[in-house]
């Protein structure tokens, strides 16, 4: 037990002495939390909007005014012909183009029916879908108003039915993306730091030759491993703490559930990550290899965690695959506890899977760590 103390002491000294590393461990992640949490939004706003108005009537101007007034659209330009406009779209200066043909107003009055054409840059398919929804809303609203103006009498023989849908957004009534992203990004940063540091730590001693010196000492393999990994566990917990404080102070992220429960879960979650780091260390000879493998897993874990894109939308095999993703569990737990106020029994399935994961990885890691070749 005393021996572990010496190793921990040594590790902390080395970490805190490396002046180049400290900001990377503590400042960089928190800076990213503050900045990047604002970036991760699917909300579609400031849509680059342009129009071609060949009608130049009161109605066409009124319709354009509607787009101008909408908070979603940012009217960038008007063009005289389609060629010019599509050029702008190719350049990426415009993403939605409204084309009002000649006789727009005349057709509406005379034939009681008129056409409009809208072109949407659909490379980002999801955004295009949302944009088309907004456009429809504006046009429908305009249409309704026009209709009321033009209909001098109610044509009352049959009244259309109307089904009203009332959306209600639970746990995040204002659809604030930051509420959603801050806990998630915090989880990513905690995971990345602990995995990278632990993954490279032992292999670094291998590379500079001190590991051999340690191996000829009577130290037990368990003592050595615990002593090595404990400092990173502490750093992970520390980062979580600072991150939570920032989340509360700056983003005012709701914390409905028990923070104690969150720490309880995190303390086991970090064992999964540290075990993984150790396993990577054992199977590599250089820091370069270790880092590449860690990078490979982290990119997969991040993009398949359900944080940025929903897991339900993935094909079945990929959904099954995410069961092996520890970040997924952490993201789920953080959201459940902080945003929904979930209790111990609610997160029990995630907790059990995490514990099993931690157990398997650490057994594998300790077993594959060899003092003797």
């Amino acid at each position: 037990m005393k021996v572990i103390g010496y190793i921990i002491q040594k590790e902390f000294k080395q970490i805190f002495r490396n002046k180049g590393m400290l900001p990377i461990i503590f400042v960089l992640p928190l800076l990213q939390l503050l900045i990047l949490s604002n970036a991760a939004t699917y909300e579609v706003k400031n849509i680059l909007f342009a129009y071609i108005d060949e009608d130049r009537s009161a109605s066409s101007r009124e319709l354009i005014e509607k787009f101008n007034a909408s908070e979603y659209f940012d009217v960038k330009a008007s063009y005289v012909n389609y060629k010019q406009a599509s050029e702008a779209m190719l350049k990426g200066e415009v993403s939605v183009l409204l084309h009002i043909p000649q006789d727009f107003e005349r057709n509406l009055v005379r034939y009681k029916k008129t056409d409009l054409s809208i072109t949407i840059d659909a490379i980002d398919g999801a955004a295009a879908g949302v944009e088309s929804g907004y456009i429809n809303q504006i046009i429908q609203g305009f249409n309704k108003k026009i209709r009321l103006e033009l209909l001098s009498f109610s044509n009352g023989n049959s009244k259309p039915v109307r089904i009203e849908t009332i959306p209600s957004f639970w746990y995040n009534t204002t659809l604030d993306y930051k509420t959603f992203m801050v806990p998630g990004i915090l989880v990513l940063l905690v995971t990345m730091i602990t995995l990278f540091l632990s993954g490279m730590n032992i292999v670094r001693e291998k590379e500079i030759g001190t590991l051999e010196q340690i191996n000829v000492t009577p130290i037990r393999k368990g003592e050595f491993i615990i002593g090595k990994l404990f400092p990173f566990w502490v750093i992970g917990m520390g980062l979580l703490t600072i991150g939570l404080i920032l989340a509360k102070l700056i983003f005012n992220t709701p914390m409905l559930g028990s923070i104690g429960l969150l720490y309880f879960y995190t303390s086991f979650y970090l064992l999964v990550i540290l075990g993984m780091g150790l396993l990577i260390s054992n199977y590599t000879d250089t820091q370069q290899q270790a880092m590449f493998i860690a990078w490979f897993f982290v990119v997969i874990f991040i993009l398949m965690s359900g944080l940025f894109t929903p897991i339900e939308s993935m094909p079945k095999w990929a959904q099954w695959f995410t069961e092996l993703n520890p970040i997924k569990y952490f993201v789920e737990v953080v959201r459940m506890v902080m945003l929904k106020g979930a209790g111990f029994t609610d997160i029990l399935p995630q907790l059990i899977k995490t514990l099993a994961y931690a157990f398997v990885l650490n057994v594998l890691a300790v077993w594959s760590y060899k003092k003797v070749s």
Partner: protein
């Protein structure tokens, strides 16, 4: 020149001898692009939802069937009281509940108006608003069916055209993004680490006292990685075309050249990192921690830049990946030529020159 080529050859040997790293270098990008191409999508598919039907009449059953029949939703269960909603959300196995008011049909027939509540678990606001939109539009189309026969006058008929990606496939959006991430991180990381590694092992000094100029030493170290990254880019584009049916609307050669430019930009960034740090560990942490999330989040890979707060839109301009993603999407999906991508291309060239100039300056300071 001969000496220089000999040196480059040595660097190639280094890389190709290390079978494990080589496997990682080529195997991982392939695995990632395949995995992400299939799995990363922000389309809504088969979302599990629940229904709370308090009227159980013809209309509500028809609407329920219509929703269940769509590919977007699967009705996982039926709730019997409002109390159960909270429980279901907390458990997290359903994302939305459709709540029909009491006597829905009666209201609809007598008053011409019925209401349906759509409750979503908005801890994920992205999915929640998408779900709400999709359910609303299914209900709208049901409403239209009911209103057939009712004459609608003064109708404006908008015709919407989705260009460049008419099927709204998210894979078209993500393949250029994944390609960018892989090229950027692999190139920047590999160079920064392999240079700091020589520094740490002390072999850098030996190279510097050799008759090669320090510029040649650096270029020699970087050349093999340019080739490796080019092969990676080619593999990714090939998989994009064959597996994901990405259209290459523009010129493939231009895409190749732009990729080489972007690879060089990333390598220059890697060199810059290596001039600033002493140990491999620091180099790695900077290239991993410093680059990974900004490249994913600020490049327009997943989230639209135009929706970000203005300060972030400004910051995103310094992320090289943003410009390359614009270029890649432009060539692949829009089919534009260099004329349209001149600004982006010049910015990447400018960044490359800046990184290299800064590296040389830092390097000189250290030697004095």
């Amino acid at each position: 020149m001969k000496r220089f080529l000999g040196f480059v050859r040595k660097e190639f040997y280094h890389i190709f001898r290390d079978k494990r790293s080589l496997f990682i270098l080529f195997g991982m990008p392939v695995a990632q692009i395949l995995l992400f191409g299939f799995a990363i999508t922000n389309e809504i598919n088969n979302v599990d939802i629940a229904v709370l039907n308090q009227s159980k009449d013809v209309n509500t059953q028809e609407i329920t069937q219509k929703i269940d029949a769509s590919k977007y939703f699967t009705i996982k269960r039926f709730l019997t009281s409002e109390k159960e909603i909270e429980e279901a959300f907390k458990k997290g196995d359903i994302k939305a509940v459709i709540n029909f008011e009491k006597d829905f049909s009666e209201h609809l027939i007598k008053e011409g108006q019925g209401s349906i509540q759509i409750l979503t678990d908005a801890t994920d606001p992205n999915t929640a608003s998408a779900i709400t939109n999709y359910i609303s539009s299914i209900i709208q189309s049901y409403q239209q069916q009911q209103n057939q026969g009712v004459q609608m006058d003064y109708q404006i008929h908008p015709e919407v055209r989705m260009v460049y990606n008419p099927e709204l496939k998210s894979v078209f959006m993500f393949v250029p993004g994944v390609m960018t991430i892989i090229l950027m991180l692999v190139s920047a990381m590999m160079t920064s680490i392999s240079i700091t590694r020589e520094k740490e092992l002390g072999t850098m000094e030996i190279l510097l006292v050799s008759p090669l100029s320090s510029f040649q030493v650096i270029v020699g170290k970087v050349v093999p990685y340019i080739f490796l990254s080019m092969i990676n880019a080619a593999i990714i584009i090939f998989l994009g075309i064959t597996v994901f049916k990405m259209p290459i609307a523009g010129n493939l050669i231009l895409l190749g050249l732009e990729s080489v430019l972007f690879i060089i930009t990333s390598l220059a960034l890697g060199i810059l990192i290596s001039t600033m740090v002493k140990t491999q560990q620091t180099a790695m942490m900077i290239s991993l921690m410093g680059l990974m999330l900004p490249v994913i989040l600020l490049s327009g890979f997943i989230f639209p830049i135009s929706s970000m707060p203005p300060p972030l839109q400004v910051i995103s301009n310094i992320v090289p990946a943003k410009w390359f993603i614009t270029i890649a999407k432009g060539i692949m999906l829009k089919g534009v030529g260099l004329g349209y991508l001149l600004k982006e291309t010049l910015i990447l060239i400018g960044m490359t020159v800046f990184f290299i100039a800064l590296s040389i300056k830092k390097y000189k300071i250290r030697l004095e």
